[in-house]
Chain length 423, copies 2
């Protein structure tokens, strides 16, 4: 029996097959995300992987349904596996915003799902690090969020040589757009249509883009000039200065090619890219000051901003740059049981060492000493520990460092401390 | 907009409403599960939350479909949200068993889903700690698994006064059943039917149970006698001795009332219960030596055993016993910015402290000093840190311990070390 196409199995390393993913790499990445988010005082939350379909159509319109895992449940509800976390988060924040002091800084690592018929062979699920701030309109919040994004990537040993955050602004584009509004072709209601054209700039044929722009009263030349000038807005200047003060200037640049596809962004938007341009965007985000209001049906009005970073492109990038550490099994100690009469005492020793926080393994059944030793090496044990009976009938504990091959007799009561200290 | 019935929102503490769950409690429990599993040298894996429906019907028959979140995807595949992890695990192990040395010791913390129409108000998802061992028939593996279960609960500060593992055996019941086989009423093919009756013993009317048993040629009296005697099999004796050697004897007892509902168990079975009998089972598991063979269509034959422990009953139990620690925000330091001219230098300080692993927060925008200090207290900061300009134009860093209210001037370069040491 096979898993569904587009889904992943995560196995412990060393990986048995190229077709599967590493559970250890996933843990390594999740741990980095969590630890940086916590240092930034973001608190973790989570919501249901299954939500009412309406949560997504309210925000993005009916056309999104074609990309969802949606179905009717046994209670006749239209439901969908979550394709992104922001609507769930906006729903949660709207429900209890008044119980939390602002600014609210939250993160989550949800698994997200998209069913796109045309993309055979592409993944239909991924994990995404989501970090969001609510209740602060000042660009200082945007800078904090971008600094978190940068440090999340730095925690995985990526440097300014590997990635850059391209910083842009819907406000800057709105100013540009307004210049054209009022012409015969362009009413203010066509703003999002204009952003969609900009979003496809790099991917679409210039002639086609130009004719689309002309239909709205703009020219490709004017657009290209605006991008080339890349003049930061006052808000972007504040963000750049804030990031410079932190020592993070080299990780960001203004790039008005970035505008983000989603309808709900309102202000600063940004994307993280690998510098060699080999991969799709590593992460993306921005301000969505109206979303909570929309999701709450007008009841709660709270500015918000956030980013999402998926595990798939990031894992590919880390692999390509040789930044995934070896994540095979590793033990503090493997307990050798060479005399079966000492198995009960050995089990007690193993239990005591584990109780003290050490990772310890052993052979379940009587096994030849050389096979036990081989197993200790396979599992990358730092030490072997072995109980022996002395001539006076007492237990002696022999501890062997598998790197130096040095062997010592250690007091059983002090074994855990010895193994932890001499690691 | 509301979440779906039976699903949970997880919020950071302090919780805003009794209707939501604590993301911090969830993290506390997951961390305990992971850390004990790793000390026991279990490796983490994961699989898809969505699987082919067939994966569940193969093992449990068509009747399970009534309890599933199943639907037809846009590619016309019959699929289901996973109701349990074992079939996925058996599929994964069967696919790559030869690439891993035995015994295989793996764990996962999947979210599982059940749609049961009749149980309005009950949860339709939960998280479950799953630990499994493959490739070892010796009861030493059963003992290792049960020890892990005990230590997972002990890591959450539950004691022998709080819970007990009820240990039973399908082998013991099979022996009992065989005595009746050959009578007019009972053929060997009715074994599982017999187990189903035993599984419902405590919940069903004795008269009804008795008539069901009689239809198979057994009497309730004989069954009750067998349970009351509670004579351990040779295998159970080995397990009890093994657990005694580890110092865990007080956490287990033989109880043949336990037989487990699922069809696939073959040998030792067990359940963890709170001692006051206030809650449903905390965990359950056992041997399933034929499952990998069934799932792999006969291609791979590998003995297996495992347990599952859900987060819902466990959280209720920990709450009832007062064993959930306060999990509110807590910071190493809150940075006070009282002179806006020092904001850039303060941002650098904050960044350096976070880089050193400290949890640090601050006010995004100019804020009155007393309000900043109040915020530091609200966030349970251990220290406030504050840059000041000295008369010679240098920076001075003032560090205040919020418990002792003692204030000191600390060298900026040594701030992180000072805060970590004096926590």
């Amino acid at each position: 029996m096979e898993r569904l196409p587009g889904f992943r199995d995560f196995y412990p390393e060393p990986l048995p097959h190229q077709d599967v993913w590493s559970a250890d790499t996933r843990t390594y990445i999740f741990d980095a995300w969590r630890s940086v988010a916590r240092r930034y005082c973001f608190r973790e939350y989570d919501g249901p992987p299954l939500e009412p379909l309406e949560l997504y159509t309210t925000k993005s319109g009916e056309e999104i349904v074609g990309q969802l895992y949606n179905f009717t449940d046994k209670g006749d509800r239209a439901v969908a596996l979550r394709p992104e976390m922001t609507p769930t988060l906006a729903r949660m924040v709207a429900a209890h915003a008044r119980n939390y002091r602002k600014p609210i800084k939250w993160f989550a690592i949800p698994q997200l799902f998209r069913y796109e018929r045309q993309q055979k062979g592409r993944l239909r699920e991924h994990f995404q690090f989501n970090a969001d701030i609510f209740g602060e309109t000042d660009p200082a919040a945007d800078a904090e969020l971008i600094a978190l994004l940068i440090d999340s990537l730095r925690a995985l040993k990526l440097t300014a040589a590997d990635f850059v955050i391209r910083l842009s602004s819907r406000d800057a584009w709105r100013e540009f757009f307004k210049r054209g509004v009022g012409s015969a072709e362009c009413g203010v209601e066509r703003e999002y249509e204009f952003y969609q054209i900009i979003d496809k700039l790099a991917r679409e044929d210039p002639a086609q883009t130009n004719s689309k722009l002309k239909a709205l009263g703009f020219s490709l030349d004017a657009v290209n000039e605006f991008i080339a000038a890349g003049k930061p807005t006052a808000e972007l200047d504040l963000i750049l200065n804030n990031l410079s003060a932190r020592g993070l200037a080299e990780f960001v640049k203004i790039d008005y090619n970035v505008i983000r596809g989603l309808a709900y962004y309102t202000g600063v938007v940004f994307e993280a890219f690998d510098k060699k341009g080999e991969f799709r965007a590593i992460a993306g985000g921005g301000r969505y000051d109206n979303l909570v209001k929309i999701i709450s049906g007008g009841k709660v009005d709270l500015p918000g901003l956030g980013f999402g970073m998926g595990d798939v492109v990031l894992t590919e990038l880390l692999k390509a740059r040789g930044l995934l550490p070896p994540l095979n099994a590793h033990l503090h100690a493997f307990c050798l049981i060479e005399d079966e009469a000492l198995r009960p005492a050995s089990l007690k020793l193993i239990h005591d060492l584990r109780e003290a926080g050490l990772t310890v393994d052993y052979s379940f059944v009587p096994t030849k000493p050389d096979k036990q030793f081989k197993r200790a090496l396979e599992l990358n044990a730092a030490f072997t520990v072995k109980l022996e009976r002395t001539s006076t009938g007492e237990f002696a504990l022999k501890v062997k460092n598998l790197k130096t091959r040095e062997e010592r007799v250690v007091d059983t009561a002090r074994a855990a401390a010895f193994l932890l200290a001499d690691k």
